[in-house]
Symmetry: C2
Subunit: 197 residues, 2 copies
């Protein structure tokens, strides 16, 4: 797929088909993530690729439990409020049951962690689109990235000491008739541009 | 250019030809930036596109002056140390004299400002590559994003109250024989991958 077309037609997929994604496709998506730029070419992003169903289920249950124990406070980010309320109600699955959840971690003491992970995540979402796969940015593990229970669980998966999660992406075939993600570009009404020319 | 190829071959350009970029090309690059995802689809990234030479020169002089007045402290990020030392020596131009400097700003009170700006910057660097233009992530305006003199200058350009700079990108024709950016992919030795499958 042509680059500008892949950028324009990338949309968030929040319902995935119960169908695995070939490891070769995930490897191409990871290559796209690894080729993102990094501050001073530090290349310290750590990609944890979860395709094991049991792990995805354990993560969903753990995240629901931790959000359910949290209190909504004034001025809290709307999406986080939604996660807390849905968890308290029960049956909350933060990752939408994807074929793969790719978690991007980076060093907690490094000022470009968020920027580097975001570039890697954007590259992976574009690569997924180019490969006819749906994707969605997942922020919940970042919101909980100092949560002791979650840190402990992620360390069991391979998260290193000194690393924290700065984002994640859910990837899989879309739960549509043809398995393709929605691609009709949505208009941009915000994201203002000021020319100084 | 094909998406995965654009991702693999995007490299930083740090020497630009003294040649303008057509406004139509900049508009396509901006469209790529505006189509980046945003937290809760908030679309609050503000793009300041500087092509006016006088403004680019004033910005370079202002950044040099402010860095020259800073002290290097222990544990400071290496690239920032380099900027301070180069500014104290004199003749430091943080943006490499590009045809355009696109500054991404966002709300200071919004938790996804860095993530949203980074996705927009990555999209714009990929679009530039697809359009045969060189690009380079520019971090200096972010490091100085609470600096009163710089804030004041940027407000004169259109930065809104409550906004701060979270990154920028320099764009132009590369100062190479054919005007094309270097595209030979550099190997990734870091950016580790852990499979949980």
């Amino acid at each position: 797929m042509e680059t500008l077309e892949a950028i324009r037609s990338r949309r968030s997929t929040r319902a995935f088909a119960d169908r695995p994604v070939a490891k070769e496709a995930l490897e191409r998506i990871l290559e796209a993530g690894r080729y993102a730029p990094s501050g001073g070419n530090s290349q310290t992003t750590h990609f944890l690729v979860v395709t094991r169903r049991e792990t995805l289920e354990e993560l969903a249950a753990l995240v629901e439990r931790e959000f359910a124990a949290m209190e909504v406070t004034p001025g809290m980010y709307r999406s986080m409020v939604n996660s807390i309320r849905a968890s308290q109600k029960g049956g909350y699955v933060f990752h939408y049951h994807p074929a793969a959840l790719i978690i991007t971690a980076n060093r907690v003491d490094y000022g470009n962690s968020m920027a580097d992970c975001a570039c890697a995540l954007e590259n992976m979402m574009l690569a997924a689109n180019a490969l006819d796969l749906g994707s969605c940015w997942i922020n919940q593990l970042r919101w909980l990235n100092e949560n002791p229970a979650l840190l402990d669980y992620l360390r069991g998966l391979g998260l290193e000491e000194g690393e924290r999660v700065f984002g994640a992406v859910a990837i899989g075939y879309a739960a549509t008739e043809n398995g393709l993600p929605a691609r009709e570009p949505l208009p941009r009404t915000g994201n203002a541009v000021t020319w100084i020319e």
